[in-house]
Assembly symmetry: C2
Homo-oligomer: 206 residues x 2
DNA sequence: CTTATAGTTGACTAACTAGTAAACAATTGC
DNA sequence: GCAATTGTTTACTAGTTAGTCAACTATAAG
């Protein structure tokens, strides 16, 4: 009961859009309100600050938008295909973003996380917990790959962090040089790190 | 002739300090002036904007502070020791920063680059050119390692980007989780990527 | 000592930004 | 229809921020 509205969702979507394209610090509450077509009074009706909105918006971006893709990609029976499939997804997503915004935007969690982790603990916590969720997909893929003998025995935690690191590292580079093409190197980098034998697709996959 | 001053240098040092610790967007010109103990009129005597100061400050940080370390580290005759020596340097630098600021600050070029590459072209250009300079050290190390048969033949550009990506990726993660310890994984990640035989130090190094 | 030059200062403006409050409008259950 | 509730709007304040300017000060060369 009471008046209904999707202003809350519009504010979260606008915040993600603007912050991903520019940065957390460059986007003001007025900017977000303008993009969402919501007056500032309504903003403060839903959120007590930009930081609080950002936490909800990042949570929504992960849970509603990105996690479903992860679920699908990491459901593949062949663990190495989960990983290459994820890299394909990253690449095509960045291509799509570049067409839409004219810019390679990289990973919003990395960009925002790196930008404000020393200032807004709540955002840092949210980014870290999303990072942990991502990590678990990789971890079980590597675990399965070892179990199926697609890759040699290894330090699970270390390899998981490595895969996350190359993905985040290349996404950051891609954003800075405004070029998604370097993401195409991810599969061979990952296979080196996992010590996949030279022609994995021919032997193990398909 | 005329009045002398180190206010220009103090402004650049203050800008690097503050922006590295917080972020580009979180730091105002007033903040920088306060830290440098310089009045705003003098700020504008030397720099026409925060973005212009940032370009000079980043250039100074690279040329005066960090490049000399690279020169020394990458002068080692054994190319793989250059790479591990660089990773040692990164780790000890982050430990030092954590002791000084209570925070793992990561790579300033990555953080600032990722934050404002879509907004301030001049800063993006500077960060990219510093990245290119860094890359050249790695490139010749890999080249030499191949020539000396310490590692197998490989795609030079790809491996160079890979090493940069793992370093940047882990530095970003270290900043977000406020923990420099994950940087200790860099050498073994790099050796996987370069396909160094299992006990490189025993065989090739020392 | 003089003077041109290089640098400094503090007070100022205009614009922006976060945040508030009180009146108003829509929706649903009764 | 009429409450009760939920959401919206406008106009407002107070504080911050970038940027300017004219008067002032220190320095070194001649």
């Amino acid at each position: 009961m009471g008046r209904t509205s999707d202003a809350r969702e519009r504010l979260m979507a606008a915040a993600v859009d603007l912050i991903w394209e520019e940065s957390y610090g460059a986007v003001t509450i007025d900017d977000i309100c303008l993009r969402a077509d919501v007056r500032k009074g309504s903003f403060y009706y839903f959120f007590e600050s930009k930081a609080v909105l950002a936490v909800f918006a990042l949570d929504r971006l992960w849970g509603e938008v990105l996690k479903p893709h992860y679920q699908e990609i990491f459901a593949h029976p062949l663990p190495l295909v989960r990983i290459t499939g994820y890299f394909d997804f990253l690449y095509s997503k960045q291509i799509e973003l570049k067409q839409k915004y004219g810019k390679t935007l990289g990973c919003p969690f990395c960009s925002v996380g790196s930008e404000i982790c020393t200032q807004e603990e709540s955002i840092r916590d949210k980014v870290q917990s999303i990072g942990d969720a991502k990590r678990s997909y990789f971890k079980s893929a590597i675990e399965d790959a070892v179990a199926m003998k697609h890759i040699p025995q290894c330090n699970l935690a270390e390899k998981t962090d490595s895969l996350i690191a190359i993905a985040d590292g290349l996404l950051t580079q891609a954003r800075i040089i405004n070029n998604p093409e370097i993401l195409l190197r991810l599969p061979s980098m990952a296979f080196d790190l996992l010590r996949v034998s030279s022609h994995p697709y021919a032997e193990v996959l398909v």
